[in-house]
Symmetry: C2
Subunit: 297 residues, 2 copies
């Protein structure tokens, strides 16, 4: 049996970052507009510090402005909301991202709800969720599912209509927006999850599988339809038998790559797409806020 093609998210993300940088250069040249992304980090969580640093670095590399705000982990909800309101009102700031998780004294939902939906480049605001679900062109789309969609559009040359897609997982961050995006592409979409009676039977029919459950290697190769295209959103760290750890996805890569037509690896698949889509969303938001046609990216 032939091994599946590898969908190289790392390379695609690099290309997307280049297209974003080209778009940014065009906005500067033609409109005097430099998109700006504000990232707010509360506290000292080491993983969050790494994410925020990477986001800031890639924002600058794309030619945009990066505004970083590091607040102490004793910050009150009132002070954080005041910072969000200040960024909402600042025309230099086109995108606002409050890094999660937030310290215990702060109501995450209240903070996310305070972000201007048109600057909500994470796409988690209830207004953007509603826009996406209703098919509004104003939606800002969550970065990870948007990244999955861009990989699928690229693989299929845009011809997603009528494909049968199964999304495994129903989170607000990946599963549900992925459903909305695939439905918009006129796929027939099934959402499966922990209560699904017969997951292998569901997957055995799927032309497209998006796995986003956070359970290492739970989707087995023998469950897949031969020729399926598999997008693996999971990033799980597991212990190696010989000691040490390694990263694996939600899909049993070795088994799946014997059956699927194409598959994203972990790492190097969906992971690198997330920040690239955040940059793309920031340019999108900047264009909409300034009444400029969105460049193709």
């Amino acid at each position: 049996m032939t091994d599946a093609a590898i969908i190289d998210g790392k390379a695609f993300a690099a290309g997307l970052r280049d297209r974003v940088a080209t778009a940014v250069a065009g906005l500067k040249r033609d409109h005097g507009l430099t998109p700006g992304l504000a990232v707010v980090l509360v506290g000292e969580d080491p993983a969050s510090q790494v994410y925020v640093r990477n986001k800031g670095k890639q924002t600058l590399e794309a030619g945009m402005e990066s505004y970083e705000f590091k607040l102490p982990d004793t910050t009150s909800q009132e002070d954080l909301l005041a910072k969000v309101h200040e960024l909402n009102a600042d025309p230099k700031v086109n995108g606002i991202l409050v890094q999660l998780p937030l310290p215990k004294q702060i109501d995450e939902q209240a903070v996310l709800a305070a972000i201007d939906p048109n600057k909500d480049v994470d796409g988690f605001h209830v207004v953007n969720v509603g826009r996406l679900n209703t098919g509004s062109a104003d939606a800002l789309v969550p970065c990870t599912p948007l990244g999955c969609l861009l990989l699928l559009r690229d693989y299929f040359g845009g011809a997603l209509s009528g494909k049968k897609a199964v999304v495994v997982g129903r989170s607000n961050i990946v599963g549900k927006p992925m459903f909305n995006l695939l439905l918009q592409e006129s796929c027939t979409v099934t959402v499966a999850h922990s209560r699904t009676a017969d997951l292998p039977a569901e997957l055995g029919q799927a032309d497209i599988v998006v796995a986003a459950v956070g359970r290492p290697e739970m989707v087995k190769g023998e469950w897949l339809k031969p020729g399926a295209v598999v997008i693996d959103v999971g990033i799980n760290r597991i212990e190696k038998p010989e000691g040490g750890t390694r990263l694996v996805g939600d899909v049993d890569f070795a088994g799946a790559s014997k059956v699927a037509a194409a598959i994203t690896p972990v790492p190097g698949g969906v992971g690198p797409m997330t920040i690239a889509c955040l940059l793309r969303n920031t340019v999108t938001a900047a264009c909409r806020q300034n009444g400029i046609d969105e460049p193709s990216m």
Copy 2:
């Protein structure tokens, strides 16, 4: 083969209206609160006039206040928005419904967006769509899919988890909110539509079918899984061979009732549930606005 059980939406809706009336009586007695529903009708569309009259009548019968506003079909968008803002600010008005369609000079989306989401008893506001999609307890749910869900919960005694459901149709008014509701009940949910490659194959696996496509009798009995439960949202008027017209659903009732375990008739199935759920939503909205625990209805 045994004929399917008939899911009697007319009787269920009558029972729901009784429970709403009991809830309203309790709110009056215990909290001095009489829920109020405002319906705004612009122009002279005969079908809309009938709907508005029925809504007003049933609102009063449930013991609530009904506020009807009939505006001329020359009403400007500005004047209609002013009316909506007035109703948003009026504490006696707990629910606001602007009857669609609106005259051409008015932007429907702008009017719907102006309604206070917490008074949006139609559940069409983008904020309520987002709340429903994310599973927020604050959502007001569109009346027709809510009615379908109540019928299904009643039929299955609440045991919907793990059932395989196929929703045919992807409208913002029925198909997509129905998906969200069934997913919340932990069904495995597929949304099929006009681009679906093999609708019979999808339906042949479904424990639950919700048909909402607006095409007379397009879902055939032989496509169904024996023992399926079928909710038919369609209301289509077709010509009879002998002259005159009759109402039919989106499902071939005669064929389906030979295969299904249970099915809603047309008329008398989903239809009567819509206004009953509007009344229920008005009580829900009134309770939330006043910080009162919602009575069971």
